[in-house]
Symmetry: D2
Subunit: 283 residues, 4 copies
C-alpha cells in the first residue's frame, strides 16, 4: 500500500467528486484526507485528495484510471506519490536563521524533503551545508554575472528535478524571466506583513511608522516584487521600547516559522494557485 | 435551489465518498463545501458535505436517495436544510457579556439563529430579552426546585424544537440526568483554559497560580463537570500587574468570542462528536 | 487619600526621577505605579507615575510642589486626579459594533468614562443612546454642512470638557483644520492592519490581495488620512474559504477590542505622543 | 560609562524611589530604564532600574552609595554590571530543539551569555557542543548515580559562577535537595500549558483530552514538580486532524521560543520572585 495525492482544479459542475471518487473506489483506493474549495467568484473548483492504493498499482495506473474524468471535466491535475521524497533548493545570503530552521525541521522529520543544494551569493553558510552533507554552491552575484548565475540555477533546478526553490532570506531579486519560468515553484520569505513595507529594510520601515505588530509573509515569487500569491503570514507584538534592531531580532522567529509552514504546505501539496491568490488546505 | 448539509460517520472503508457523491450527482446536486476526517486510531470516518439541490427536491427526497448508501456503510447521518433557521435557548445568570455578544451576532446576521427563549435564575436580563423581542423565563433555582426547573427546561427544549441550549455563564450545574438526555445539545463556556482550573472561580485560581495566560473553553456538557468534549479554546496574555478582577475583565472578551465561535460551528453543523473529543470542520 | 497621575516628558539628563520623586515623598505621596521610557534616538525622556496623596492635599498643591522641578528640567507635564471621571464623545455612523462594545465596557466598569454625547450622521443609534441615558446628536453631513457640523463638534468638545473624541467607525473624514485643533484628542479605529490598506473598503482590499491575516488599528487622527500615531493593533487569521463579507464579520471583534484597548490606555493616561509615534505604558 | 542594573524589593512606604534615585543622581548616574511593581496584596514593592554610571565609578562604589537607603528600607537588592557576561549551564537529554534554539540565539547575540557547559545524560549532543567550542559533560543518570551526578552539577555551578542552569528538555527530575539549593537559578521548560498536563507525556495527555490549543511553560524549578513560579507561557492552535506526534512537532517551536524568552528575561534581570509567583518586567 502506498499513498498518493491528487490535486485538481476545474470549472465547477455537478458530479466532479463523484467521478473522481468512483474511479478511486474501483481501484480499491481508500481516501485518508480530502479537502475542496469552490470559489463562488470564478466558479472554479479546487480539490486535494490523499488516498492509499494497493501496492500492485503504480501511479501510472492511477493516472490512467482517472483520465476519462479528467478529460470530461477539463481538469488540471497533479498526481504525486508520497513515497517520492520532494527535492528542494535552499537559497540564502548572510542571515541564516530561516535556513537553519528548515534544515533542523528536515533533520527531525517534520519536513520531509531532500536538500538538493544550498545556493548562496556568499561563503558564509558552507560549513552548515557540509555538516548536513548537502552540496554548497557559492555563486556570487554582480550586475554582470546575474543572468549567468540564474541560468545555472535553472539548470540545477531542472537537472535535480527540484520541486521547490526556497529563498530563505536570499537578498537578490530574481529577474523577471526566471520568476516567470519558475512560477509557482519559488517561495520567498518577506520580513514584513505584506502588503505593508515592501522592498528593502522592512523592519526599519516598520520602526519608523511606529507599528505595534511586526510580521512575516511567505509568498510565491512573481516578477512584481513582493506582490506574489501569499501562502502564510504571522504577526508578533512589539513595543515602543524596542529598537529597529530589536524588531529584526524578534522577527527572526516569525520569519523562520512562517517560511517553514509555507514550505511544508507546498511540499505536502496543500497549496493551490487561484489566480494571484492561494488556496491552502490546512490539516 | 436550496442548500442542504449532510453529516455522516461510519467505519472507514473504500467507496464511502463515491457512494454518497454519486447519489448527490444523480440528484443534480452540486457540492459547495466538503470536509472529511479519518481517525486512524478508531478507523472511524467523518464527513460534512454542503450541497445545493434543485428547488423541486425536498430534504426527504434527498434522504430517500441516500438511504441505500447509508444502509450499506451503516452510517450515522444527520441531514439538514439550511433554509430552516436553527433554534437556540440561551441560559444566563448575572454576568451577561457572553449573552450580549450572542444577541449582537444574531442581530448582525453572523449567527443565523432564532432565540426561542432566554432562561435565567435571575431577573437581571429581562430588559435585554424584551428589547430583542425574545421570551424571558425567570426560573429561580434552589436545591428543592432544581429538578422541577430542569423538567421545564427539557419541555421547553422539546416543544420549541431547539437545536441547542447555550450556557452563557449560567452558574447552575445541570444534573446528571439532564446532561445525559441533552448530550451533544448543550454548550457551556468555562472561563479557563481547560483542563486547568476546573470548577469555581477559575480566574482566581489562575491568579493564585501566577499564570501568564488566561483562557476560555467552550465544550459540550456532560455529567462530569468541565470534562465534556472541547469545541473551541483561546488564550489571552496577562501580567503580574493585573489583579484577579483584571483577569475577570480581560476574560470577558475571550469568553464571548470562544462561545460565539463554538455556537456558530455547532449551528453550521461543523462539529461532530468523536467519543469524548470533537471533530471541528473549519471554514 | 486620592490617586493622581503625572505624565511628563523632557530632554533626558541625570536627576529627573530623583527630583520628581523627592518632591512626591516630601508631600507624603506613595507611588503605586511608575513607567518610563528614554528614547535614545531623540534623547527624550517620558514618564507616567501614579501616586496616592493624602486627602488634605489638592491637585493644585501637588502641582505647586512640582513646579521647581518642572521648570528646572523644562518638562511638559499633565497632572490629573483619578477621582475626576474622564469625559468622552463617541462618533458613529451605521456600523455600531465598536460603539456597542465601548458602551458595554463602560457599563461593567472596565472603562471608566462618562459619555458626554453620541454624535452621528445617521439616526440609526438613537435608541442605544437613549437606553444608556446619553444625549444623541444627529448631525447629518453633506459637503455643504460639513464645516458647520465640525464647528458644533468643536463647541461640544470644549463646553463639555471632553478628554477624548472617539471615531467608532464614523465614516466621515475630519477636516484638516479640526484634525489639527484636536490633535491627540481624537482616536479612530481603522479596519486594517495599517499601513496596509489605507482608505476605503480595507477588507475588500485585503480580500483582493489574498492575505492570510486581517487586522485593525487604533490611531490618533491627523490631517494625513490613516497616517496618525498608532496606539494599538491586532490581527486575526482568515482563510481562502472566507469571502470579503466574512472578513468584515471577523473584523468586527478585532476592531471593537483594539479600539477599546486604545481608549482605555488613553483615558488612563498611558499613551504619550513621541513625534509621530506613541509611547504606550502597559499595565 | 558602563551600565548597571539594580533589582530591589522591600515593604512599600513613601520615599523608596526618591531615596534610590537621589543617590544615583548624586553619582551622576543616568537612568535608561526603570520598572516597578507594588503588590497590593502583600504591600511588597519591586523595582528594576538600569542606569549608566561614569567609567571611574566601580560597582562597589555604587553599592556603597546605595547602602544607607538599602538599610533604611530593609531592601533586598541585587546589583549587577552589564559588562559582565552572564554564565549559563545548559542541560539536555535527547530532544535538542530547545538547546539548539538557545545556542543559535547566543550566536546571533540576541541572548548575551557564555555557555559554561552543556550537561547531558546522553552522548547525543556532543558534536553540537564541540562545534560551539563548549565543554560537554556526559553524566549518565541511574538511581544509584543520581545524587553523585547532582553533586557534580552543583560543583560545576559554583566553580563556574553560573547565573543560571537551564533544563532544555532535560528529562531527569532534580532532587528536592538540589531544587532547594539552586532555587531561583534553575529554569525548566515544561511542554504543556501549566497547570494542565503536569508530569510525563503532556502532549499525549493533551491529545487524549482533545484540546484545541497546546502550550509550553517556562518556570523556576522547585521540589514540587511542575509547580514552580511561572516565567513565560505561550499556546498554539491544534486541530482534531493532528496526531499526538503532530502535537509534539508543533510544540517544538513553542517550547524553544518560550524557554528562550524566559532565559533572556532572567539574564537581563527582568524576573523577580514574589512568593510562588514572578514579576516579569517587559521591555
Amino acid at each position: 500500500e502506498h499513498t498518493c495525492i491528487l490535486n485538481l482544479s476545474c470549472d465547477d459542475k455537478p458530479g466532479i467528486v463523484a467521478a473522481v471518487t468512483t474511479e478511486l473506489a474501483a481501484l480499491g483506493a481508500n481516501i485518508s484526507e480530502s479537502n475542496q474549495f469552490w470559489d463562488p467568484l470564478t466558479n472554479r473548483f479546487f480539490m486535494r485528495i490523499a488516498f492509499r492504493v494497493p501496492a500492485r498499482l503504480s501511479i501510472e495506473d492511477v493516472d490512467r484510471a482517472l483520465r476519462p474524468a479528467v478529460d470530461r471535466y477539463e481538469m488540471r491535475i497533479a498526481l504525486t506519490d508520497q513515497a517520492r521524497k520532494p527535492r528542494i533548493i535552499i537559497m540564502v545570503s548572510k542571515f541564516d536563521h530561516a535556513m537553519q530552521h528548515l534544515l533542523y525541521q528536515i533533520r527531525v522529520g517534520w519536513l520531509d524533503a531532500e536538500v538538493v543544494a544550498i545556493v548562496s551569493n556568499h561563503e558564509t553558510c558552507r560549513a552548515d551545508a557540509e555538516r548536513e552533507g548537502v552540496p554548497y554552491r557559492h555563486w556570487p552575484v554582480t550586475k554582470e554575472t546575474k543572468l549567468d548565475q540564474e541560468a545555472r540555477l535553472l539548470d540545477l533546478a531542472q537537472e535535480s528535478g527540484a520541486d521547490l526553490v526556497i529563498l530563505a532570506r536570499y537578498m537578490q531579486v530574481l529577474s523577471d524571466g526566471l520568476s516567470k519560468r519558475l512560477y509557482g515553484k519559488v517561495i520567498n520569505i518577506h520580513h514584513s506583513f505584506l502588503p505593508s513595507f515592501k522592498g528593502a529594510k522592512p523592519y526599519h520601515q516598520a520602526f519608523e511608522r511606529g507599528v505595534k505588530l511586526i510580521g512575516a509573509t511567505a509568498h510565491y515569487v512573481t516578477p512584481d516584487l513582493d506582490e506574489g500569491p501569499i501562502i502564510e503570514q504571522e504577526t508578533q507584538r512589539v513595543t515602543h521600547a524596542m529598537s529597529a534592531e530589536d524588531f529584526v531580532a524578534a522577527g527572526r522567529d516569525v520569519e523562520s516559522r512562517v517560511l517553514a509552514q509555507a514550505v511544508k504546505a507546498h511540499l505536502e501539496r496543500r497549496v493551490m494557485l487561484n489566480g494571484h491568490k492561494t488556496v491552502v488546505f490546512q490539516k
